[in-house]
Symmetry: C2
C-alpha cells in the first residue's frame, strides 16, 4: 500500500508521514484505551493534557527551544499572526519589516493597522535584499525566513546587535532545520507544512516579550494570557495538536545518513533540494529564478520556458503519481514543495518525470 | 465493537457519531481515490473545495439558512468571537448584552475593549432574566442562547422589534434544533459540541451586517473579507471542516420517532433531556437548580446533595462506562452534556446508574 500512494507536492496543507496517518486511523475510535477518539476528549481531561504536554516537550526538545521561550498552540494561521504579532509586540510604535516576497509584504501591510511600519529593505522575490534601514527604536523587526510562494529562504538568521527583537515568520520551513534562538525574539508558523493539519499555529515567544499587548488585543490572542493558560485559555485545536505530536515523535525517530532526529530530517531536506535544483540548473527547458544562495529547501518554484506546455506537464505529472505541482496563481509556472514528509524517492520520481517530459517535448 | 464504547458526557470537545469516526478512519490515507488524506490536500484544490462546498450546502440545508446569510468557517472559537463580533459589528458604539450565565458574562467583558457595553439584564445562572433595558441605538444585542456551564437555554429567541440586530452565541446547542433566522442578525458557535473537532468556528452573518468592521479588526477575522474569499482568505481548518461535513451528512440521514434529519435530532434531544430531568426531579438525592422553562437540552448540571459522594460517583460512573461527568470547576457538582451524538441509550444508562448509586448510597 505504501508504494501505491502518489507523491504530493502541495505547498500546504501538505503531505504527512504515512506512519502518522496510519496511527491516527488506528486510534480514531479509541485512544490509548480511553474509549474516546482524541476529537471527543475534553481539553481539560488528563488524557488530552498528556497528549498536549508530550507534544510541547517533544517540540521543545527537537528545536532545542530554551527554557525562557514559551511555546503556544494557537489558531488563526500565519495571516492571523500578521495582526496578532503587532497587537502583542508593537506597543503602537515602530515596526521594521524586511520584504523578501509575498508573505513578508502581506505582513507589512497588516501591521500598518497597529504600528508605524517601515519597509527596511525590499527584495525582488529572487534574493534577500542587502542594506537594511533599521530603526534602533523599533519595537521589533519582522522577516519571513522562508517565502513559500517565491521560494526564498534565509539560510542564516540576521544578527541584530541593537537589542531590537527579531520576529520570524517561519511557517513553511519550521521544523525542517534548527533555529538559532540567540537571534530570535518570537517565531511563528502555521502547522500545515511540516507539522500537521491546518488550523494550528505554533508561536515561540521569549518571556520578556510577554505583557506588551495593546488594550485592543483580543484576549484569546494575547500571548501572555495564552501562555499563562498553557494554551488552554480557549479550547485549543485538540486534534491538530495530537497529530502534530505524532509528527514530532516521527521526526525524533527519523534516521538518515547516519543521523537521527532533526539533524537527519535536515540532511534529507538538503539532499532533496540539491537533487531538484541540480536537475533544474542542468536543463535549458526548465528554470528556477532564485539566487542560489537563498534558494528554499522547502518550496521550489520553477518554470517551463515554453508556458504552453504547463497544462500537459501538470496532466502528465498527475498521471505519473506526482500531485499538486501547479505554481501559486500570483507567480504561475510550477512549484514543488518538498517538506519533511516528502521522501527522497518523491524528488527522484519528479526529476525522472521532468527529464522524461523534456525528452518528449523539448 | 459499538457496544464496547463508553458513553462520553464531555461538555466539549464532545462525543461524535461513531459512523463518522469510522468513515474518517477508513479515508485517512486516501480520500475518494485522490491518493491523499484530507489533511494533505491544498485548500485550493478541487478535492477540498468539493468537501467544503458540500459541508456548507448541507449545513445551510439542515438549518434552513436563508440566502441572505453567509456561512463562514473560521478559527478562534467562541472566546475569539467575543472580540471578533464587536470588532466587526460594534462600530465602536453601543452594545447591549443580556447576561444569563458564565459565557454571556465573558462576552460582555471582552466587548468592552471595543464598545460601550451595557448589561441589559442579568440573571442568576438559573433563569433567563426579564425586563431587558435595551438601547434603541445599540449596534447589536448579544445573548448566549445556551449557557454550557449553567445549563440555561433559550427555547424561544427574543424578538427585537426595534431593528437592532440580535447576535446569538449558540456554540453549545448549534445544530441541535432549528434557528428562527427572522430574529437573528448573526449567530456563531464553536464546532466542538455538536459539529466536529475543536478549532473550527461557524459564523452565520446577514449580508447587511458585512462591511462594518473597525480599522483595527485583523483582516483574517474580518467577516466581509472572509465571506468574499469563501472562508479561504487564510488556510481554513480543512480537516475539521471535512469531519463537520460528515456530521452534517449523518444528521441529514438521521431518523427517529418517524422524523428525519434535524427534526429527528431535535426530537431525540427533547426525549433525552426529559428523561434525565425527570430522574433528577424524582430524586431527593440529586438536584438540578435551573428553572424548568429554561433548562438546557444539551448541558444538564446537577448536584449530589451530599457532596462527599462526588468522588465515589465519578469513580463508579467511569467504571460503568459513563465518562466525563464532572461539573465545571466554577460550578462544581456534575454535568451531563447530552449533545446530538449521545444516543438515548447513553442517557438511559446514566439514569439507571444514578438510581443504582442512590440506592446504594442514599
Amino acid at each position: 500500500m505504501t508504494a501505491a500512494r502518489p507523491f504530493n507536492f502541495s505547498a500546504g496543507p501538505a503531505t504527512l508521514p504515512e506512519p502518522v496517518l496510519r496511527q491516527v486511523a488506528a486510534e480514531m475510535l479509541d485512544w490509548g484505551g480511553s474509549g474516546m477518539s482524541v476529537m471527543e476528549m475534553s481539553h481539560r481531561g488528563k488524557e488530552f493534557i498528556s497528549i498536549a504536554e508530550a507534544a510541547e516537550r517533544d517540540l521543545r526538545d527537537l528545536l532545542a527551544v530554551p527554557a525562557n521561550y514559551r511555546i503556544l498552540f494557537m489558531q488563526g494561521g500565519g495571516l492571523g499572526e500578521n495582526a496578532i504579532v503587532p497587537l502583542n509586540l508593537s506597543r503602537g510604535g515602530k515596526v521594521d519589516v524586511v520584504v523578501t516576497g509575498s508573505w513578508s509584504r502581506k505582513s507589512a501591510a497588516e501591521a500598518r493597522r497597529y504600528a508605524d511600519v517601515q519597509v527596511a529593505a525590499e527584495g525582488n522575490g529572487r534574493e534577500i535584499p542587502r542594506d537594511w534601514q533599521l530603526r534602533s527604536d523599533a519595537s521589533y523587526v519582522h522577516v519571513c525566513t522562508n517565502e513559500t510562494i517565491d521560494g526564498v529562504e534565509f539560510h542564516d538568521l540576521p544578527h541584530l546587535d541593537n537589542g531590537v527583537p527579531l520576529v520570524i515568520d517561519c511557517s513553511s520551513h519550521l521544523l525542517s532545520r534548527p533555529i538559532d534562538w540567540s537571534r530570535v525574539g518570537l517565531a511563528f508558523g502555521g502547522a500545515q507544512k511540516n507539522i500537521g493539519p491546518a488550523g494550528l499555529t505554533l508561536v515561540f515567544v521569549r518571556d520578556d516579550l510577554l505583557g506588551r499587548a495593546l488594550d485592543i488585543c483580543p484576549t484569546a490572542f494575547n500571548y501572555e494570557t495564552v501562555a499563562a493558560a498553557q494554551s488552554m485559555y480557549n479550547t485549543p485545536p485538540t486534534f491538530a495538536i495530537y497529530v502534530a505530536g505524532l509528527v514530532f515523535q516521527w521526526v525524533k525517530q527519523f534516521a538518515y545518513a547516519g543521523k537521527q532526529g532533526l539533524a537527519a530530517i535536515e540532511q534529507r531536506n538538503i539532499d532533496k533540494a540539491a537533487l531538484l535544483y541540480a536537475a533544474l540548473d542542468a536543463s535549458g527547458f526548465y528554470e528556477n529564478r532564485v539566487q542560489p544562495s537563498c534558494r528554499s529547501r522547502m518550496n521550489v518554484p520553477f518554470f517551463l520556458k515554453d508556458e504552453r506546455l504547463n497544462e500537459p506537464f501538470l496532466t502528465e505529472a498527475k498521471a505519473a503519481g506526482l500531485l499538486q505541482l501547479k505554481g501559486h496563481k500570483t507567480v504561475g509556472g510550477m512549484r514543488a514543495s518538498i517538506y519533511n514528509a516528502m521522501p527522497l524517492e518523491g524528488v527522484q520520481a519528479l526529476v525522472t518525470f521532468m527529464q522524461d517530459f523534456e525528452a518528449r517535448h523539448g
